[in-house]
Amino acid sequence: MNLFKRVIAGIVMFFFLIPSVWAAEKQGISIFIAYTGIKPILETFTQDTGIKVDYLEMSSGEVLTRIRAAKGKAQADAWFGGGLDSFVAAAEEGFLEAYVSPEREAYDPMFYNEEGFWSGISLGSVVLMGNPEVLAAKKLMMPESWEDLTLPVLKNEVLMSTPAVSGTFYSMVSSILQTMGDEKGWELLERIDANVPYYSKRGAEPANKVSIGEAGVAVAPFDTVLRLRQEGHKLEMTFPKDGVPWYIAPVAVFKGAQNPEGAKALVDWVLSERGQETLAKCTTQAPIRPGITLEPEVQAMRDSNLMKLDVVKAGHARKEILELWQEKFGHK
């Protein structure tokens, strides 16, 4: 009977354990984030305002899917960083709360949504990243422009993600199309495609794989390259001569947030001078508010030849561009 008793004990324990994990304690605000160096930023926010923050890292595609599945029922209070196109879509589908922060007067209107659904907090860019060991072993030069990526010697050495899963690659594709025009733009993308062995299905992957030598060159977000370098990887980086695509990281408040006041306080704080200075210290994106001192390498990025873009327009064109992209390169 010994074993039988144990099984019974197991069943009793089973029902005993369930309630102990049923509810999680909630205090402060909860946010979904897709932003590097978030931890010290939020710690400073909590110090300044006394509001505790719980966060979960999710790609913007995952966030959008999640709210859609919950039929708009708020899954968190605020949304911090990620692809602008997802924010645009979420605003259109009615998932976001309009909030006009008093801080936004200091900003150029091209960086925020007029109705207040989202506000840009920092600017990131897309660069080329190379693994010097792999390049040296194959006697390859580090490419310095989008045009260089089409050189036949780089066959199978260029890693990119599908723009559908990655805000970075979406901004690369849409920026190239916007500045070069559709015809020339697609033609360039097709020539680059000839060197891409496959498109990664997760955004972080190209940079990670190139950092361990799985290929020679990755198209990567500027801040990712700096972070991998900080971790100790030796990596080369170039700002494409024929134009650096850029994007803005937005912040937004979810409609139906449990703690909307806390979420708005976060928006105010991150747009304020104090918040922007904290971003300048903790991340390698460039805070947008004018007058913030940037680290030299971030300043170099800000001074690189950033393309002339309408990022909001890019956010709206997402569906069209992705469909065309899927048609041309979707099989890879």
Binding site: L3, L56, E57, G61, T65, A69, V165, N208, E231
Partner: protein, 552 residues
């Protein structure tokens, strides 16, 4: 070949327990049926229902041309799943044979490697494999100096095979151990050679275990999207394309409809299969094995077993070392900073992971046994329907099962605890494995034994406690082990259920991997692996004190 026929009367013997305690049985039917409806049919149905909704109104647009456009993906998915099953089965059988018939020495180490390989934290292990066998891998490039391309069908096939050998071999081993030694002896006494005995007696008797592992591997490979995403390159399967359609393209109805493509053909294949019952005959009275396989044969088995152990040592060694070196591949100096970083992870996410996984593990192994027992006495049609329902969540890519839970829970008028959702999703997702494992165990109980217990005056409860449970114990342990490990490490279904307030350990690991921070990820991975290993050791001890031979 021994005649293993049963009379019809014997076949229904186990259900006699039910006949005399039909109230208990009805109650069990009610409970498990309710569980399946609430936690499987409802969420899966909600996902499928979404495929008919386009912008809030009913539409069949997601299904237009769905089949013809995805023909290649369907083919590739099944080709891959079939290939993985074909590769996994022989390899795991070889390792299981080595464990059962090989020398005592080294057995524990091989078992440890098998158990370890089932606790593979997703993405971290893939990363470790690439670092070892990738284009610049430590073994392939630095040691052997050849450059190859692991991305494609072959890469996915190899990686899935390696990751599934552990579970399949453990199940095979458990089945082989339950084979009656007396029958082997009889065959030897009648003049058959050891290899003939193995081929004609022992292996056929362990067939339920082999069938169960084959099906589990097949289904798991069908619904796995992580591996094809990671090493598939341009080779994609239905599961990974569906994931991409959901998260990347954001086409909710189409993504949900793609699940139908995965589920329908798979259920078809599985139904055909379950038509044939895995009947077996094994009193399991004689534990002692007198079958001595020739030493050249054993040595051959040894080669495979130790190759597997070496592979696991490499992969997990890399993970352990990764957690104490500054930066793998570049700076090998010793550091405790990654391990110290574990302390800064939130303690409550680790606690939540543990509790959810314990609940899921225990629930799934218990429910697996109850269902196996109920189905054993049920009509074939009922059996097939219930089996299909249980397989549903295992067939879907985990992400979609998670979406189903979110769809259901966000429509409820009251708040459901995050941890409860996580526990239940893991419990019911792994139930397919637990049920198949329990069935394999049950199939090895000879109905005549039940008569024996009854003739000696034992009631139905006695049959359950003194016959069924002791025999099933090792199989239940496997069910627990699988569900517990899977719950501790899975991220697919969970990413839509965790909230910023209620995180779990696997999410912490997932975030580090996304940052490309191998050190922190392997520290967290090491921690997870050690935790799961300790819990397994306790479960092993707890369930293995009294020997099986102790029948009344």
């Amino acid at each position: 070949m021994i005649a293993l026929q049963k009379s019809p009367q014997e076949e229904r013997a186990l259900s006699l327990i039910g006949a005399s305690s039909s109230r208990t049985e009805a109650f069990l039917w009610f409970l498990s049926g309710l569980g399946l409806i609430l936690f499987v049919i409802w969420p899966v149905g909600a996902v499928l229902f979404e495929s008919f909704l386009r912008d809030g109104s009913f539409s069949l647009s997601a299904y237009r041309g769905l089949f013809s456009k995805n023909l290649k993906l369907i083919g590739d998915s099944f080709l891959l799943a079939g290939g993985v099953t074909l590769c996994t089965l022989p390899l795991s059988t070889i390792i299981a044979l080595r464990l059962v018939y090989g020398p005592e020495r080294g057995r524990r180490l091989v078992i440890a490697a098998l158990v370890l390989s089932t606790i593979s934290p997703p993405f971290l292990c893939s990363m470790a494999y690439l670092m070892l066998f990738g284009r610049r891998g430590l073994v392939t490039w630095k040691l052997l100096g050849f450059e190859w391309n692991p991305y494609g069908f072959h890469g996915v096939l190899m990686m899935e095979t390696v990751s599934m050998i552990g579970l399949a071999a453990l199940l095979m081993m458990t089945s082989l151990q339950r084979v009656d030694g007396a029958l082997e002896r009889a065959s030897l006494d009648l003049g058959a050679s050891p290899l003939q005995t193995l081929k004609n007696v022992s292996l056929p008797l362990a067939l339920p275990g082999m069938a169960a592992s084959g099906l589990v591997v097949f289904i798991r490979s069908l619904s796995d999207f992580g591996t094809p995403l990671f090493v598939g390159g341009s080779f994609q399967v239905l599961a990974s394309r569906a994931y991409n359609t959901l998260i990347g393209v954001g086409d909710f109805p189409l993504a949900c409809a793609m699940n139908v493509l995965l589920i329908l053909p798979a259920l078809g294949v599985l139904c055909l299969r379950s038509e044939r019952q895995d009947d077996n005959f094994s009193p399991g009275l004689a534990e002692a094995r007198s079958l001595r396989l020739p030493s050249w044969f054993l040595r051959g088995l040894d080669v495979f077993a130790w190759a597997f152990v070496a592979l696991q040592v490499l992969v997990y060694g890399l993970i352990f070392l990764g957690s104490v070196t500054q930066l793998w591949g570049k700076d090998f100096s010793f550091t405790t900073r990654h391990l110290a970083a574990i302390l800064t992870f939130r303690a409550d996410s680790i606690r939540r992971s543990l509790i959810c996984s314990l609940v899921a593990g225990m629930g799934s192994c218990l429910l697996g046994v109850v269902l196996a027992y109920l189905l054993d006495g049920a009509r074939a049609s009922v059996r097939r329907v219930v089996q299909a329902v249980v397989d549903l969540p295992y067939l879907m890519p985990g992400t979609f099962f998670g979406v189903g839970y979110l769809l259901v829970s966000s429509r409820l008028p009251f708040e459901v605890g995050v941890a409860f959702l996580i526990s239940m999703s893991c419990l019911f997702r792994q139930l397919s494995h637990s049920l198949r494992t329990a069935k394999a165990g049950l199939a090895q109980i000879d109905p005549t034994l039940e008569y024996a217990v009854r003739d000696l005056g034992g009631g139905p409860l006695r049959v359950l406690t003194d016959l069924v449970l002791p025999v099933l114990r090792p199989f239940m342990r496997l069910g627990f082990l699988n569900t517990f490990s899977a719950s501790m490490t899975t991220t697919g279904p969970i990413i839509f259920l965790v909230s910023p307030y209620a995180r779990v350990a696997a999410i912490e690991l997932f975030e580090s991997i996304n940052h490309g921070d191998f050190g922190a990820a392997s520290a967290m991975g090491t921690f997870l692996i050690v935790t799961v290993a300790i819990v397994n050791a306790i479960a092993w001890r707890w369930s293995a004190q009294s020997r099986v031979g102790a029948l009344p």
